[in-house]
Symmetry: C2
Subunit: 353 residues, 2 copies
């Protein structure tokens, strides 16, 4: 994983770039202070980049993993020629082990695996690359479609609150929650976006604010603890968030703090919209309890801005996702349509439509 | 305001030290990494220290202000002799203008003013110093008393969540919310304290964790956004917080994020205890709407750990207190007694008891 200058300007819609047969990722760990692309040379390096959060956001992880499989295929074909199938598995296992919660990762690997099983002994790279590009393009198209569908749910001009970053940076491009906000902004329905800073990793401050400010959409940051107070002030009709995995019953796993925000929204009669492509829906998870919740290093909480702030000897609880039960969700918006007051029946119907 | 070595070890119970006719404050901005005492030489320097949060927490601000008045009296007596009344007002005005929300500041200044109006032209320092010491000692005694009363409300051993720092550091000593926790811990009723890190100033990480860890009370940090998820996990019977000002109807102003936590507690059937001395109750404020809420520099949100993290050109909303309506509060615990399900009638009775 080495930084290489890339002759394109950094942009949220170019978080994942395949150029001249090389995979580049915009390093989201150093945004907004540095706009740096890192070249991924192997599937293992790509897995490391996902685990270390060079790239994050469920749909973006899915797209990245697809290109990671292309790198795994290249490595294996160079090493084994016609016997490339032997070597590709380790690269794919590496990718699968990178992060547990975002289901799009597994969805993408399964889709690539399905294609792999149909291929002959010749160089698999061109076909797999075509599929990775297709996954990427489909993700952007899904975001645009669900963005428009979500925007239609907003009845009159309002401010909204979002949590974490479910933007172009978190997807192939355009974004899920921020896709809805972009479409609604274009339709004149957004007054201002309040962005939770989203501790511990500060995706709101670093990514969402950067992305929206670049698009000249009015954005104001606030601490996660201030969101309920902002809801109480009024003028906010919707909380709009993305998701890392949606269970069959409509329970929503998303960045830690989403549940707190949804509870506060319910308390204030503010509606909650979850925007995600259907690749985020995991029909094998009956409810949120079946979703694996990643815990990360307590140092992410004990440190702030790269500096230790927690007292020595003190521990921290750091689950990085939480589950918002379906009962707190007013609408799940996908590229296939909107599910109001989600439950298993409605989501099953959506997925089989 | 200059740092001086002080031959006593830094301790939460020694946040405010009067020694050898000098006022020292433990610099809470640099805890837990540095344990540094700053000497206050004038009332104006003391006011600066309050505004800059060298010392914070409503009762501690009240105690500090009382000693600040002693310094104002000294300055004025040195300059004007028998005409010391001329000069003392500017020092007191300075102190009054330092921070708007904590009512203990005004309560303390009024009490000192009441005494000043009874004094003759001779050196006022000895009498005012005696009164400042009395305010300090009364605050500690109040904390111990309300700590015991609050602990009695806890029926069986439980974990608790607290927000910000309402500990010895925030008071003359012992603490309000942490006073309750200390008393309950001594009575074997506390399993573990979950401390919200409390953005933007991170009083939970820096102060509460430091204080409890020193006392060997088990403490785990979590992000403010994770508190609702932790409540959902279970095993927590009480949220216990302090207050900066309580209105006559029982509405509670406290550190931003308290309201969010109280809403989440209500959603989970977890009880909310507010621990504060009666000097925190402002009978002139009919409800929370009458409490002035301080907004501080947006940079406190845009920066984290001293490092800019918010994207350039982006603004932040930074009210540093919020109001939790009385309906979300199960008990207000003071040194004069406990008010369950607070309302104006019950609080009026308490204050006139």
């Amino acid at each position: 994983m080495q930084p290489l200058p890339l002759e394109i300007p950094a942009d949220a819609d170019k978080a994942i770039v395949w150029s001249n047969d090389r995979l580049y990722l915009l390093d989201q760990r150093v945004l907004p202070m540095q706009e740096l692309y890192l070249e991924m040379q192997t599937a293992a390096a790509t897995a490391d980049a996902i685990r270390d959060m060079v790239v994050r956001g469920a749909p973006a992880i899915g797209v990245t993993a697809a290109f990671g499989v292309v790198l795994a295929a290249r490595e294996s074909y160079q090493a084994h020629g016609a016997g490339w199938r032997e070597g590709i598995k380790s690269g794919m296992d590496c990718l699968a082990a990178s992060r547990p919660t975002a289901v799009n990762l597994f969805w993408s690997l399964e889709r690539m695996q399905g294609l792999i099983s149909e291929l002959d002994a010749s160089d698999p790279e061109p076909t797999l690359l075509q599929e990775a590009h297709r996954i990427h393009q489909e993700d952007v198209a899904s975001c645009r479609r669900l963005g428009d569908l979500g925007a239609e749910l907003i009845e009159s001009t309002t401010s909204v609150i979002t949590h974490c970053n479910a933007g172009a940076l978190a997807t192939g491009g355009y974004g899920t929650a921020l896709g809805v906000i972009r479409s609604a902004w274009a339709a004149g329905k957004i007054e201002r976006v309040y962005a939770d800073e989203t501790r511990p990793w500060l995706q709101g401050s670093r990514l969402t604010a950067w992305e929206l400010h670049k698009d000249q959409i009015p954005v104001t940051l606030l601490t996660d603890g201030a969101a309920a107070s902002r809801l109480r002030v009024g003028g906010i009709d919707w909380v709009i968030v993305g998701s890392d995995r949606i269970a069959a019953n409509g329970d929503v796993a998303n960045k830690i703090g989403t549940y707190s925000l949804a509870v506060a929204a319910k308390h204030h009669g503010v509606k909650v919209m979850v925007a995600a492509p259907t690749s985020t829906i995991d029909m094998s998870a009956v409810s949120g309890e079946a979703i694996p919740i990643e815990s990360r290093n307590p140092d992410e909480v004990l440190n702030c801005g790269g500096k230790r702030i927690g007292a020595t000897g003190v521990d921290a609880w750091n689950p990085v996702f939480d589950v918002t039960p379906a009962v707190l969700v007013d609408a799940i918006v996908t590229e296939k349509g909107v599910v109001h007051s989600p439950n298993t029946k409605k989501i099953t119907e959506l997925m089989s439509s």
